[in-house]
């Protein structure tokens, strides 16, 4: 997974360099970094991360090293940590470039994960990475404010407790909704718990079952695999909004006519997945339908009547 970002800071490269080499500042600003303890070797630290991300809340321990210093222009950060649920190996380069009296700071790197954390899926991970990178630069900016400057000399082993609410605006089923949400809140939790749209269901932690599928900017996505903050500015349709006038949508009707549901738990996700399938291919063959819905588990129907339901809808939609 690739991470990158850049930010212009109102300070000299020397001042920024000082910050980037202060372990207390690094500990404070690196999202998820709970502790950073100096080790004998210079520029090498014992690092403890506490990653809170969707269903994951777990500790990781390992090392953080600063290498290839070229004062005050660049250095490379190497992180290797291990936790009960997997490993994270990350490596990235910070580059500083004077721009007038300001400094352009850029970061470019790559991260590799194993274990449960890797299974979160590319979309979530890159979303999180983007958010973490932005948070880091915003933190740097705060550190450079004169008032905040005095706080910099904190103690080593700083523990990060802060959680922040982030404002988002989302259009859901045609209605504009605005809320402040925790960065770790999943989109499906936002829909179910904040908006009380309980037609969207949670069936797994791994974006494998599709029960949480919603239409996100015209595409069927698994809402357990997105953070609510990633939905800022998005347009979302849930099962409750598929047929706003109280009539059944032809796909809903198809499921009713062809007995495409039993317990009903997978059904909203299945219907919205079928919606995307028919948007892309209005006249699918049985095989194409089976391929199109294979990301959604149903444990009741054996899928045969779901295939018929989608066909029924395709015919009705013409």
């Amino acid at each position: 997974m690739h991470l990158e970002g850049s930010h212009q800071l109102a300070a000299s490269p020397q001042a920024v360099w000082k910050l980037l080499n202060d372990p207390d500042v690094l500990a404070r600003l690196t999202p998820g970094l709970a502790e950073l303890n100096s080790q004998e070797k210079e520029d090498s630290y014992e690092a403890v991360f506490q990653i809170k991300m969707g269903p994951i809340n777990s500790g990781f321990t390992g090392t953080l090293e600063v290498r290839d210093k070229s004062e005050p222009l660049s250095y490379r950060l190497v992180i290797g940590v291990k936790g009960r649920i997997g490993t994270i190996d990350a490596e990235g380069t910070f580059g500083l470039r004077p721009k007038g009296s300001d400094t352009d700071v850029s970061f470019s790197g790559d991260a590799r994960m194993t274990g449960v954390i890797a299974r979160m899926g590319q979309r979530v991970l890159s979303g999180v990475a983007k958010m973490f990178t932005n948070q880091f630069f915003q933190g740097l900016e705060r550190e450079l404010l004169p008032v905040q400057g005095a706080v910099i000399s904190g103690r080593a082993g700083f523990t990060q407790e802060a959680s922040m609410a982030i404002p988002i605006g989302v259009t859901v089923n045609g209605e504009q909704r605005e809320h402040e949400v925790e960065p770790r809140l999943l989109l499906v939790q936002y829909l179910r718990e904040v908006l009380t749209l309980t037609g969207t269901h949670v069936g797994c932690d791994t974006s494998s079952c599709g029960a949480c599928t919603v239409i996100f900017n015209g595409r069927a996505v698994k809402s357990c695999t997105l953070l609510a903050v990633q939905a800022d500015g998005a347009e979302i349709t849930t099962i409750e909004g598929l047929a706003p006038d109280g009539e059944l949508h032809p796909i809903q009707n198809g499921f009713h006519q062809e007995h495409g549901l039993q317990c009903g738990f997978c059904t909203p996700g299945m219907i919205l997945t079928a919606w995307q399938l028919l948007e892309r291919n209005p006249d699918p063959t049985d095989d194409e339908i089976r391929h199109g819905i294979e990301g959604n588990y149903c444990r009741c129907t054996g899928y045969d009547n779901i295939v018929r339901s989608v066909k029924h809808a395709a015919n009705e939609l013409g």
């Binding site: 449960v116 309980t198 069936g203 849930t238 047929a243 007995h259």
Partner: protein
């Protein structure tokens, strides 16, 4: 109005599910609700040396951290087994305590150790990480055969060799002699692998204690709310039942995993009283994998003997059945009374003996999984038959036909008494096989197979002719076999003054479509439209009593209880109608919702009679007002659905990939109320069985960790793994069941697994492949082909 009984009426319940208005437990939010996260053992077997919850207790939002030490004094017992199966020598089965929160020892990964209750789910999960449990880790044991060997790690101090009970059924001596004298003996030894039910809705429970009324409400994802109330009140918490209400609203699939009484149900109810607020727990999928009861996990050696004319002369079975770490609600019953009793199959085998040893292992407890015992029995019998056919070089169809029990309807011919304690109700096994063969085009398939082999392609045709047992009863019999409850069902018909009808049923729908099927029964009986009928289930304060839905019992037991109440309604209605029409009761006939004086046009409608019952101004003398009846139905016998399934597979011998080309299911489930719903049940059941044959299986490592405990790792059938199913039926009504119904929820699972495995073995027999362990993954198939060629 034409009768709707027997028609594929579209489902009444669909609308709320397709519009997102279903109401599942996790959708419920109560005022002042708190959220529970459960601290679970990461070890399969360990002593608890201490629990430090100080950090968790002071974490943000935490309301309480509670442990087993605190819970134990408030309980009268542990989670119970609902069935007691004793040792051959009469000793009581080993039933060590199963505390909802472990006190001194944990016995599987996922065993609950403490509960953290907080203001938000996230705070509860965060704080649960801070609970520090000091474990002394002990050796795990996951293999069911090795666990019973001397020297294996002892899971409980007073359960020697981890053996829960040993049990036998049939005539052992006669069977040994028959096997010794047999002309040919076919033997198979295999694992019927452990499966995970994986209902797509994770379990959820909300406890709500009302201090002012000293009353408990539990919302829970269960298939049988009254059973949960019975077990929780009587065996675990010592609560009076009138102070406890269990609500089980829409439930997102069960498949057996939502039968048992679970630790979390006790935890939320007990802790709600402790904290004085509602407590909600919702399983994450990874939690479901390790705490929902698992199914199967048998190791079996089975032998079938034949005389020189290929007549079956004996069947001898030895099974080791894992119970997991504790006895679950139906745990002990499944490998015995739902497995051993099915060993006759459809055949006239004169000597049968089955021996079962039930064993504790340091794994998730084992209970029902769609079919529960009957799939395991059918798998071994039907694998043996196909294997024997190959070995003796006879057609598997002919071998079955030769040994079938002849047709009997249970009325003119008596029921068939088996060697293993059952009396089959009615059956024409040849007829269902013939229909399946016709649907499949069996002769052409064999020609196609031969032609394909010429071209180096390996098509396999697998058969399975099964029988199963549903609606286990009567209560007196199951009681004598060790059931700790009756197995009847209740049905209340409440006629409203307007002539509309509310039905209260002890059955529970979690996908089966009871709102529709039961309404069809009412509409057919009373001649009123289905829209005038409402079915109520899943609330112990509304429904008088019930044993719930499992073992395909809803229509065959629950439906009959409703039907009995409908008869009582009509009986009383006739008295009122006779009074209103000033005619004798025997001169009336009831049809299409009206009582008519025979041979006249004088009639009174059901609605007028209902109104009269509640506004009895002009009313028969001595008759009570009102129109409501409750009936309890305790069946005279089990019901015995049966059928013939045929799988056609294409095996790629280069890669080991099995492609299921066709699947034919021809079943006899007795009389059918809604064919569309029955077909849907067959589809789902067949898919479950195909899953076991080709994909599914819980894998534990030697440390007792479930290695594939997520949807990323545990394979289940997806839409593109399956063909379209071909279903057919014959109808042989059940003679002792007033509806003639037998049950349709599990036939598919029971019939399909051996049909698919038989098909793959059939494809690969010419290559020398004689045996495959399930699931038949490409790797295993490829390896077997390779081993056979060396």
């Amino acid at each position: 109005m034409a009768s709707v009984r027997g028609q594929s009426v579209k489902r009444v319940e669909d609308k709320r599910f397709i519009t997102g208005e279903g109401r599942y437990v996790d959708d419920i939010v109560l005022p002042k609700m708190t959220y529970a996260a459960i601290v679970r053992s990461p070890h399969a077997h360990a002593e608890i040396k201490g629990i430090d919850s100080s950090a968790a207790s002071s974490a943000a939002g935490v309301v309480a951290v509670l442990t087993g030490q605190e819970m134990a004094p408030d309980l009268v017992g542990g989670l119970p087994a609902g069935w007691q199966v004793d040792f051959k020598n009469g000793d009581t089965m080993k039933e060590p305590p199963h505390p909802p929160l472990a006190v001194d020892k944990v016995r599987y990964v996922g065993d609950a150790v403490a509960v953290v209750i907080a203001e938000t789910p996230a705070q509860a999960v965060d704080a649960a990480e801070l609970v520090d449990v000091d474990y002394n880790v002990l050796k795990a044991i996951v293999d069911v055969v090795k666990a019973a060997e001397p020297g294996a790690p002892q899971i409980f101090d007073d359960v020697p060799n981890n053996i829960v009970f040993d049990w036998g059924l049939g005539d052992e001596e006669k069977t040994d002699k028959a096997m010794a004298d047999a002309h040919h003996v076919t033997t198979i030894e295999f694992d019927n692998q452990r499966l995970v039910c994986n209902a797509i809705e994770p379990r959820c429970a909300i406890g709500d204690y009302d201090g002012a009324r000293d009353h408990y409400t539990l919302y829970t994802t269960t298939q049988n709310p009254h059973v949960i109330r019975l077990l929780m009140c009587a065996f675990v918490m010592g609560l009076p039942e009138h102070k406890v209400r269990i609500v089980s609203p829409d439930v997102g699939g069960g498949f057996g995993s939502k039968i048992p009484h679970y630790a979390e149900e006790v935890i939320v109810v007990w802790s709600s009283k402790k904290v004085g607020r509602p407590v909600k727990w919702t399983a994450e999928r990874s939690e479901s994998f390790i705490t929902d009861t698992h199914g199967r996990d048998h190791h079996t050696k089975a032998e079938m003997g034949f005389d020189q004319d290929e007549n079956m002369v004996g069947l001898r079975v030895k099974t080791f059945a894992s119970m997991g770490a504790y006895l679950s609600t139906f745990g002990p019953c499944i490998p015995t009374y739902l497995h051993g009793t099915l060993m006759q199959g459809l055949y006239t085998t004169p000597a049968v003996y089955v021996d079962v040893t039930a064993v504790f292992t340091t794994t998730t407890p084992v209970d029902a999984l769609r079919g529960a015992g009957r799939p395991e029995a059918t798998y071994l019998i039907e694998r043996l038959v196909d294997q024997a056919a190959h070995e003796m070089e006879v057609d598997p169809v002919e071998l079955r036909r030769k040994n079938f029990i002849p047709p009997f309807d249970g009325v003119n011919q008596p029921g068939y008494e088996t060697q293993v304690a059952l009396v089959y109700d009615s059956g024409d096994y040849e007829a269902v096989l013939k229909k399946a063969l016709d649907m499949a085009g069996y002769e052409e398939l064999r020609l196609e197979q031969a032609a394909a082999r010429e071209q180096g392609r390996y098509i396999g045709i697998g058969l399975s002719t099964y029988i199963e047992a549903c609606g286990i009863a009567p209560s007196a019999v199951v009681g004598s076999l060790g059931a700790r409850a009756g197995l009847y069902e209740s049905g209340t018909v409440r006629v409203q003054p307007t002539g509309k009808v509310t039905v209260l049923t002890g059955s529970h729908s979690h996908g089966q479509g009871h709102d529709t099927t039961f309404a069809q029964l009412v509409s057919d009986s009373l001649g009123i439209p289905m829209e005038d009928v409402e079915i109520v289930h899943g609330d112990t304060d509304l429904v008088p009593f019930g044993m719930g839905t499992y073992g395909s019992r809803s229509l065959a037991v629950g439906g009959v209880a409703i039907s009995m109440s409908l008869d009582k309604v009509k009986e009383k209605g006739a008295k009122i109608a006779a009074h209103l029409l000033e005619a004798a009761e025997e001169d009336l006939e009831f049809a299409e919702g009206s009582w008519t004086v025979k041979g006249t046009d004088r009639s009174v409608g059901f609605g007028d009679v209902a109104l009269t019952a509640y506004v009895p101004h002009n009313y028969p003398e001595g008759l009570e007002p009102g129109m409501e009846f409750t009936s309890f139905y305790d069946p005279a016998n089990f019901t015995f659905p049966y059928g013939a399934h045929i799988a056609v597979v294409d095996v790629d011998v280069e890669t080991g990939v099995v492609k299921l080309k066709r699947y034919i299911a021809c079943d006899d489930v007795g009389n059918v109320v809604n064919p569309m719903i029955v077909d849907g049940q067959v589809h789902g059941g067949v898919t479950h069985g195909i899953g076991q044959a080709l994909m599914e299986g819980a894998i534990y490592d030697d440390e007792g960790q479930l290695v594939n405990g997520s949807y990323m790792d545990y394979a289940m059938p997806r839409a593109d793994d399956l063909p379209s199913f071909e279903t057919g039926r014959t109808v042989t009504p059940c003679p002792h069941n007033p509806l003639g119904a037998k049950g349709a929820g599990e036939t598919g699972t029971i019939g399909s697994t051996p049909a698919v495995v038989n098909a793959v073995i059939d494809a690969l027999w010419p290559l020398g492949v004689r045996h495959l362990e399930m699931p038949l993954t490409p790797q295993r198939v490829w390896q077997a082909i390779r081993d056979a060629s060396n």
